[in-house]
């Protein structure tokens, strides 16, 4: 389904029914028929009682009426079941598809979206909100249709029986429904507040359990109890408020008045000899039967309004406008070994309220010759990872352009970019799948041999083979069962198998020891023959072996060049360099040789 197709929350809420207009119309027709079938036995009951009152014996007509009622029971069963079945199928299919659609839209949305929207909220919406909407249609809407049908049919029967009764009903019942609706509307803000508070509750307990060691280490348990107490007390307040909404439900009084008045009027008519006793039974029977309906109506009206609130939340998310647009006329071919150019690039992440925050890359101009090995260094938050993410087109620059082989990346479809560019991220994320599936994540059709080959190159084969299940070993939540170095090697294998034309390594060997790294580097050199690679690194040797070193600081480019040049020209680089492990020995070595020449 296309994005942004839902104009309003209402059409979203009703889309389960709007999808099958034919079925819906028939189902609603049957629901109304069910209301009629429900009222008819009471009418017949009145006739039967008249028969009794008149003849004082069980006449064949009386028996026939009894059997008619039995027959109606059968009819009612069939009709209600048919309605229920139709609704069940419609809403459950909708629920399935709506959840799928929501998931797809959300995962298609660019990272800007995911930066702004809390993933726990997304999970809650995709599970709970969608379920509540389903609930608002079935049973809520379905039952309300039957209930309103009962109200209407009662009015009609009363009108047929007597004009005055008709008038009492015509005034009373719509009034009743109106007040019931008014009541249901008041629940809306409460329901919204409850959902939000529930999310807050989930979020605040989840973060504490994720960071439980920190809580312990600082002995902050009391502090956390108090904090949680505040959130859960607020939740308690909202829940109380929601519960209390059903108290003093005024429409009940209207129903009481209508029944009371009809009782007085009907009895008087019997006394006057206008009504038979059977008619009085019909009148009272019909009105008393509405009692149950009166009990159900407000609860389900509430669900419908509540579902509307949920629909609003979802539609807001579904209609989110993505700033990262796919090109209208995408470039199909491109020389990925061409130069990479950053041209006046300014970039800022959108922050929570959707507004752009300050720039994290400022006026960046940089040319990276195709096929070169580039090292990227700089302080925390300097913008290194951001530069790599731009190359992957996870974001587009706020201003300026990123060009490869002279082509603006905006003109290339994201799928194409991500096919050609491979990133090993800084904080490795592995999925709860087998090791094999994790490695083959970027190339699912890879054969076992290819997977093993990639693992060998990434120096991961060895530790995988000594695991009990080898390549089939399962990886726990967020890859927690593996050591840092093991995770990094799996991520590298994953990227190698992806076979990128441009390789981006974001401090990806920090937890790997020298020896392993040495073999890894050799293997990567083979893979990256004539391809561009950019490495964020803290390691001296990587700097020395690079064709180009790029130094960034607080979003600005401070120096570009090779090691020797930078050492002389860049104060900044010098400062970083001298603190690198082994730098001093190296520097001494250099002066030594320098002196010898």
């Amino acid at each position: 389904m296309a994005k942004g197709q839902y104009k309003s929350a209402l059409s979203y809420q009703l889309s389960a029914l709007l999808r099958y207009p034919g079925v819906t119309v028939v189902a609603i027709g049957l629901a109304l028929l069910a209301s009629l079938l429900q009222a008819l036995p009471i009418i017949i009951l009145g006739q039967a009682i008249d028969e009794l009152a008149l003849t004082n014996q069980l006449t064949p007509r009386f028996m026939m009426l009894v059997f008619t009622i039995l027959g109606l029971a059968g009819g009612l069963f069939a009709t209600i079941f048919a309605v229920g079945y139709a609704f069940a199928i419609m809403v459950l299919r909708w629920e399935r598809d709506a959840r799928q659609e929501f998931f797809e839209v959300v995962s298609e949305n660019s990272m800007t979206f995911h930066d702004q929207v809390d993933s726990r909220m997304l999970l809650a919406v995709s599970m709970q909100d969608i379920r509540w909407i389903r609930f608002s249609l079935n049973p809520a809407l379905r039952t309300i249709i039957t209930t309103i049908g009962s109200f209407v049919i009662t009015v009609v029967f009363l009108w047929i029986i007597d004009l005055t009764l008709g008038i009492i009903a015509v005034i009373g019942i719509p009034l009743y429904i109106y007040f019931a609706y008014r009541y249901a509307v008041t629940v809306e803000p409460v329901r919204r507040a409850r959902s939000e508070q529930n999310e807050r509750l989930t979020a605040s307990s989840q973060e504490v359990f994720r960071g439980i060691e920190v809580v312990r280490a600082f002995g902050a348990e009391e502090y956390e109890y108090e904090k949680f107490g505040k959130v859960s007390k607020e939740y308690q307040r909202i829940q109380t408020r929601e519960g209390r909404l059903t108290a003093f439900y005024r429409p009940t009084l209207i129903m009481t008045a209508v029944t009371g008045l009809s009782f007085l009027y009907g009895s008087n008519q019997v006394l006057l000899g206008v009504f038979s006793v059977g008619t009085l039974v019909q009148v009272l029977g019909l009105l008393v039967a509405l009692d149950v309906a009166g009990w159900i109506l407000p609860r389900f009206l509430l669900e419908i309004r509540g579902g509307y609130v949920n629909a609003q939340r979802i539609v807001n998310i579904l209609n989110w406008k993505d700033p990262l647009k796919e090109p209208d006329k995408p470039r199909l071919t491109l020389n990925w070994a061409g130069d990479i150019v950053f041209e006046n690039v300014n970039f800022s992440y959108a922050n929570n309220n959707g507004k752009n925050s300050n720039y994290v890359l400022k006026n960046l101009n940089l040319r990276i010759p195709g096929g070169s090995r580039v090292a990227l260094i700089g302080g925390p938050g300097g913008g290194k990872s951001t530069i790599l993410k731009l190359l992957l087109r996870l974001y587009d620059p706020t201003e300026g352009r990123v060009l490869i082989d002279g082509i603006d990346l905006r003109n290339i479809h994201t799928r194409k970019v991500r096919k050609a560019v491979g990133l090993v991220e800084q904080d490795i994320f592995l999925f709860r799948m087998s090791i094999r599936d994790n490695i083959a994540f970027g190339n699912m059709v890879a054969s076992d041999e290819e997977v093993i080959e990639a693992a060998k190159r990434a120096q991961a084969h060895e530790f995988i083979s000594i695991m009990p299940d080898g390549y089939d070993a399962a990886i726990g939540e967020r890859g927690m069962t593996l050591s840092g170095g093991q995770r990094q090697r799996l991520a590298i294998a994953r990227t190698i198998l992806h076979d990128p034309k441009i390789l981006l390594l974001d401090d990806s060997v920090s937890a790997i020891d020298a020896q392993t790294e040495y073999f890894l580097r050799k293997a990567l050199d083979e893979v990256m023959q004539d391809r561009t690679s950019i490495t964020v690194t803290q390691r001296l040797r990587t700097l020395l072996e690079s064709d180009l070193i790029v130094v960034v600081d607080k979003g600005e480019l401070v120096a570009v060049g090779i090691h020797k040049e930078l050492l002389e020209t860049s104060e900044h680089y010098h400062r970083i360099f001298e603190r690198l492990p082994g730098a001093l020995q190296y520097a001494n070595g250099v002066t030594d040789t320098g002196g010898g020449m």
Binding site: Q38, P41, I42, L45, L52, A53, Q57, F67, I69, L70, A73, F77, I80, Y85, A88, L92, E104, S107, M111, D115, S119, R120, S126, M127, L201, T202, R210, E213, R216, A217, F218, E221, Y225, G243, R244, A247, F248, F263, L264, S267, L271, L284, G285, V288, Y349, N358, G378, P380, G382, S385, L392, L394, E425, F431, E477, D507, S510, Q515, L540, G589
Partner: protein, 618 residues
């Protein structure tokens, strides 16, 4: 592969406790609201009686108008009574709802807070074995289910009351009528049995399937950046489709069962009318009728009334089961007694206690595989010790033990001459502070995150500290400076920034004993040197344990401890150990020396590897 997926909604393994235990526990909690509940119960009783009586008034009216010679006055009086009863029961009911809503929410909050407090104190070994989503579900969705269960208990009791009173009224009117009304019970029994057996199973399967969907969504959302980087959105969606379809299949079966119930009950209601009409009619005719026509009408109304509570009961039974299961899981959690608590005669850690000693300490996370083996060492007060070793050697575990996140199975840990088991956890945590290997920040602003280390710190102090360790520079340029909110553990910060903030937090705590677990692994060399300088300045002369990943850190330590497969195999200064030519030498050559520039040729690498293999005995 989705077998161990977390289940956010309705974990519904078999219940382990009998129902009465669960009910008693529930009542125990409700007991805290005794007075409110007593008032509520009285109100329910009265309003239910009123509710049950009002059709009686109507039937009297019918009989009245059939009696020759009646006047409108009688009708007016009955009408008045009817309205009065309805009004009274409306008011009582409303007051009741008002009161009980508060009680219910209060109950939920109380048990929630209890559970939360308990979980926060629960042993890490338990928390770590559960996924964080599961633990959270304990305090959120399970507790919500419990709340529903309480609501159900209240509703069920008033429905049962209504049922009983209705039956009594019918019996008083005419026992035959009451017995006829029982004719509808087979259907209800059928429904109850259906729901208790097949229904239960279908419901469990359906909840399970939904749990799978929810777990998958949770994981896919947290790995969304990877899916994007590898163009895997479509495959992910396809997998989701499968799980969704499965959930649909189960959900459909469940819903069809629910769908079957309603028409069944409704039809039974109509059959009830026919049956009553026939039986009542037979009794109301002849020369000496046992029943008046008004009573026949009453019977018809009451048989309807009879049906609804039964229906509600059978429906609630399912919900009730779910909340019993929640109560069960809640008790499971509450029953896990934390073992790491203050011992009865725990004392504060003395001002003079300093230095760390491990005495013949052995520890395992899972029984049978020792992670630390007979470790003994003594770190004198004010000393800085570096711990090194391959990943998995047990370094982080040492740090966790000093913080008493776990208790060792054998041996003990002393600070000064006090066993940490005999001191209060509060004083222990005041004295020691840890910068963990995996930094974790809370969803609060940067300032609050740092202040977590010491609540009493002023803004000024925090800024000063940040300046000292070189964090001020980047915090200042964040979108809202120190007020920038950290989202979802730090996804809006760079990895190095997160680590810097975590360092600031711990340094602010100003502990007597400092433990750094690869604390600067995500920092560049320059920032690292700033942090190190700050540490030297602020923590000079204090006991410090550094778990090192870089050579520079080791060089600054007075002694080096080498861990291998859970054993402390070498101790000494850097030079001593190099001279020793053992494990440390091998580690140094391959693990640390690379950080300098000496070319690591293939031969050297091979030799080092063999050396390593020899030392580690593989």
């Amino acid at each position: 592969m989705s077998r161990r997926r977390s289940r956010f909604i309705g974990q519904t393994e078999k219940r382990s406790r009998p129902i009465y235990v669960l009910l008693i526990k529930m009542l125990e909690y409700l007991g805290r609201f005794k007075r409110i509940i007593a008032v509520g119960a009285v109100l329910v009783l009265i309003s239910t009686i009123f509710q049950a009586i009002d059709p009686l008034v109507l039937s009297w009216g019918i009989d009245l108008v059939l009696t020759p010679g009646s006047t409108i006055t009688g009708v007016l009086i009955l009408g008045g009574i009817y309205v009065g009863l309805r009004l009274a029961s409306w008011i009582l009911n409303s007051i009741n709802t008002w009161i009980l809503s508060g009680a219910r929410a209060g109950f939920v909050q109380t048990i929630q807070q209890d559970l939360y407090n308990h979980l926060v104190r629960t042993d890490l070994s338990y928390l770590k074995s559960e996924q964080s989503g599961n633990v959270t579900a304990r305090v959120t969705s399970d507790i919500d289910d419990l709340g529903t269960g309480v609501q159900m208990t209240i509703d069920v009791s008033s429905q049962v009351l209504l049922l009983v009173i209705t039956f009594v009224i019918m019996w008083l009117t005419n026992p035959l009528i009451a017995l006829t009304a029982l004719a509808v019970t087979p259907a209800v029994v059928f429904i109850v049995v259906l729901f208790g057996t097949v229904g239960q199973r279908i419901m469990l399967a359906s909840q399970h399937a939904y749990g799978e969907v929810s777990g998958q969504i949770a994981e896919d959302l947290s790995g969304i950046h990877v899916a994007k980087a590898f163009n895997r959105e479509e495959e992910t969606a396809a997998k989701m489709q499968q799980l969704n379809q499965e959930a649909y299949r189960h959900g459909f079966r469940f819903m069809i069962m629910m769908t079957l119930m309603q028409p069944l009950i409704r039809a039974m209601g109509i059959i009830g009318i026919a049956a009553l009409l026939f039986v009542g009619g037979s009794l109301a005719i002849g020369t000496a009728p046992v029943l008046t026509l008004g009573e026949v009408f009453l019977g018809v109304i009451l048989v309807q009334r009879f049906l609804w509570p039964l229906l509600a009961l059978s429906w609630m039974a399912t919900q009730f089961q779910a909340s019993l299961a929640s109560m069960d899981r809640t008790l499971d959690v509450l029953d896990v007694k934390p073992t790491i608590i203050n011992s009865p005669n725990a004392v504060s850690l003395k001002e003079t206690s300093d230095g760390i000693s491990f005495e013949n300490l052995s520890f395992s996370y899972v029984e049978g595989t020792n992670v630390l083996n007979n470790v003994t060492f003594k770190i004198t007060p004010g000393e800085t010790v570096a711990m090194v070793g391959h990943t998995g050697a047990g370094k982080t575990t040492v740090a966790a033990l000093i913080n008493r996140f776990y208790d060792p199975q054998e041996g003990g840990i002393l600070i000064g001459d006090q066993d940490i088991k005999d001191v209060t956890l509060e004083s222990l945590h005041d004295t020691t502070a840890l910068i963990a290997q995996e930094p974790y920040l809370f969803d609060a602003n940067v300032l609050e995150n740092i202040r977590y280390g010491r609540q009493s710190a002023t803004d000024q102090e925090i800024v000063e500290l940040c300046k000292l360790i070189g964090a001020h520079e980047f915090i200042e340029v964040l979108s809202n400076g120190y007020d920038t909110i950290v989202t979802e553990g730090g996804k809006n910060l760079s990895a190095g920034q997160v680590q810097m903030i975590a360092i600031a937090r711990t340094m602010l705590a100003d502990p007597k004993i400092l433990i750094l677990d690869e604390a600067t692994s995500r920092l560049d060399a320059y920032s690292e040197s700033l942090v190190q300088a700050a540490q030297e300045k602020l923590f000079a002369g204090r006991t410090t344990v550094v778990i090192a990943h870089r050579l520079t850190t080791i060089a600054n330590a007075s002694r080096v401890f080498v861990f291998d497969h859970g054993e402390l195999i070498e101790k000494g200064t850097h030079e001593e150990l190099l001279r020793l030519g053992g494990k440390y030498k091998a580690l140094y050559d391959t693990y640390y020396a690379h950080q300098s520039v000496e070319e690591l040729s293939e031969e050297i690498a091979k030799i080092a590897q063999e050396e390593l293999a020899m030392v580690s005995g593989k």
